[in-house]
């Protein structure tokens, strides 16, 4: 049997989570390089439409893994369904997007097979007949090329933004879709989830902001946020923050940018005193220009900044506000 790559896409409430396109793009590249056959699967109840959407892209086959018990996501349900399927299909490599939902079940799935998942990879290399997955370590200060030792199946997840979802290759004609009805015994699913909800009413939609001034721990105290707000106002932009600032209650949660907060794509993202931790940076990969001001020259934010200022933000922001006001007034 040919070696296959299986991409397990993500659907929420019957709609495809767009990050799945990114995983498919990465998988298509890996398939082209290795010659392994690319297949995809979606898990849920009544998700045939999602399967059809995937089938329009360049994949050999799509599986619609169905059970009424899979309507709501639970780790027990998803692992039970995927374990049986993977045991039967025997893909060599299983790829998924590194979403919060995948993080909740993928390590359980790998462990059920006696395997270890390589999680949150930002890319792959194919060397000497085996794939290596590149991961960020130590909050992005280093990269690691990680290999699987031991037998297939192999499991890996890709970080949000590792690949461009809009670069996914279309298929010539729709791939065949096979519905796989799974039976999940009573008592297997132990968690009872309620419907997801948004906590506070969102006063601001950062995803629509063109200019964002964002603060991190380098802002040091709550009262200093006023300075950043002045810069945001002068620029005509919105204020935002990394997680620790919102955890401390210095700014409301709807100002949080990162994996738990908003994913933003402004024209300008001005990062003040932000180190550039992975959980934050995944939220700004779509920004057109990133300007970073940080007094630590080794801060990971400078890896992805278009413009870097190594310096004390408290020395730089006040004259910057004046210059911006001048430029706008002029």
């Amino acid at each position: 049997m040919a070696d296959t790559i299986l991409v397990v896409v993500e659907q929420r409430e019957g709609k495809l989570n767009r990050v799945s396109w990114e995983t498919l793009t990465g998988a298509q590249a890996l398939s082209a390089e290795t010659g392994w056959v690319l297949e995809a699967a979606v898990v849920g109840s009544g998700v045939g439409e999602v399967a059809s959407e995937i089938a329009g892209k360049k994949v050999a086959k799509v599986f619609d893994i169905e059970s009424p018990k899979l309507e709501a996501y639970t780790p027990d349900g998803y692992v039970a369904a995927l374990k049986g399927f993977i045991e039967h299909q025997q893909p060599k490599l299983v790829l998924m997007p590194h979403t919060y939902q995948v993080r909740d079940f993928a390590p359980k799935l790998a462990t059920a097979f006696g395997r270890v998942l390589i999680s949150d990879a930002i890319g792959y290399k194919y060397e000497g007949g085996k794939p290596l997955f590149t991961r960020q370590m130590f909050q992005g200060k280093f990269a690691a090329d990680v290999s699987f030792t031991g037998d297939a199946p192999y499991f890996a997840t890709f970080q949000s933004g590792a690949y461009r979802g809009d670069k996914v290759e279309e298929g010539g004609s729709p791939a065949p879709v096979e519905t796989v009805n799974v039976v999940i015994a009573d008592g297997v699913i132990r968690n009872k989830p309620e419907a997801p909800f948004k906590e506070a009413k969102q006063a601001v939609d950062l995803t629509q902001a063109e200019i964002i001034v964002s603060v991190g721990r380098g802002i040091k105290e709550q009262k200093n946020i006023e300075l950043a707000q002045q810069l945001a106002t002068a620029l005509g932009g919105e204020i935002a923050a990394s997680r620790p600032i919102c955890d401390s209650g210095w700014l409301p949660m709807d100002r949080q940018v990162g994996s738990s907060g908003q994913t933003v794509a402004p024209k300008l993202y001005l990062a003040l005193g932000i180190s550039g931790a992975i959980q934050h940076v995944v939220g700004i990969k779509g920004a057109r220009s990133i300007v970073a001001i940080n007094k630590d020259s080794e801060a990971p934010i400078f890896e992805i900044a278009d413009i870097a200022v190594v310096g004390n933000l408290f020395d730089i922001v006040p004259p910057l506000i004046e210059e911006v006001k001048k430029a706008k007034g002029a």
Partner: protein
């Protein structure tokens, strides 16, 4: 409630890190601290104990220096500590780490096991979930709230983009805890004194070796990431930097 908190010692956030000679790990001559999400996990366990009674046990695996994390936990109010002590624990993959933990607490009856949602060095976000599968327990990840119910617990999971979800779960369970779930306490002087008399059990690698297997992953190479982005550096005294920045904002980024 009998709660086990799995904690990890990681290099300090702003510690300057250097590659070792073989390019497979970092040089260990840096300052260390507790993994931040784990500190929140400990705090949550202590609060649950304060509310419902019980016991909080902390466990870590790593070299002798990792004991510091356990000492601080005991000083904050944990009752007992278990240290899987050895340099070789550092290189274990998530599966083996979870197996080592499971082996060292197999004779205990915990209701809950907490881990931080991920570590700041590896960022794998797996050990807790792997442990749940090994033990055959239910689990939930990225938890921001825990309430005791008649049937078990009700937890609040954090989802992306500001969404949350409540989940009812039976006990025993493994939960991976998100930063910001609570506010961290400081250890008091009395707590630090009392910590010296609290049980600290050492478990050596040989004692759990039978439960472990070969690592199923290998870091082939650790390196400084190649920059794909072209970064323009602006230098000079603040007034000059401000002028140069505004120039860029106007003429290159087009926001002015």
């Amino acid at each position: 409630m009998k709660i086990l908190v799995c904690m990890k010692q990681v290099p300090q956030k702003d510690a300057p890190l250097k590659l070792n000679e073989s390019g497979t790990w970092i040089r260990e001559d840096v300052s260390y601290e507790v993994n931040e999400p784990d500190a929140y996990a400990l705090e949550e366990a202590l609060r649950q104990k304060e509310k419902h009674g019980g016991e909080v046990v902390v466990i870590t695996s790593g070299p002798a220096r990792a004991q510091q994390v356990l000492r601080e936990a005991l000083a904050k109010g944990a009752d007992r500590a278990i240290h899987l002590e050895g340099d070789s624990f550092v290189g274990l993959d998530a599966f083996n780490t979870a197996k080592a933990f499971a082996a060292s607490v197999k004779d205990e009856n915990f209701d809950l096991i907490f881990t931080g949602l991920q570590s700041d060095d590896y960022g794998f976000a797996q050990t807790g979930v792997v442990l749940a599968e090994l033990l055959g327990w239910s689990h939930a990840t990225i938890i921001m709230q825990i309430e005791k119910t008649d049937a078990g617990i009700r937890v609040k999971r954090e989802l992306e983009a500001g969404y949350f979800q409540f989940v009812d779960m039976p006990l025993p369970a493994v939960l991976t805890i998100q930063s910001g779930i609570n506010k961290l306490r400081y250890a008091t002087l009395i707590g630090i004194k009392q910590a010296k008399n609290k049980p600290m059990k050492k478990v050596m690698l040989d004692e759990v070796k039978a439960a472990l297997g070969e690592n199923l992953q290998k870091i082939e190479k650790l390196y400084i990431p190649q920059k794909t982005k072209k970064t323009e550096v602006i230098e000079g005294p603040p007034a000059e930097v401000a002028k140069k920045l505004v120039d860029k904002l106007r003429n290159e980024i087009h926001v002015l």
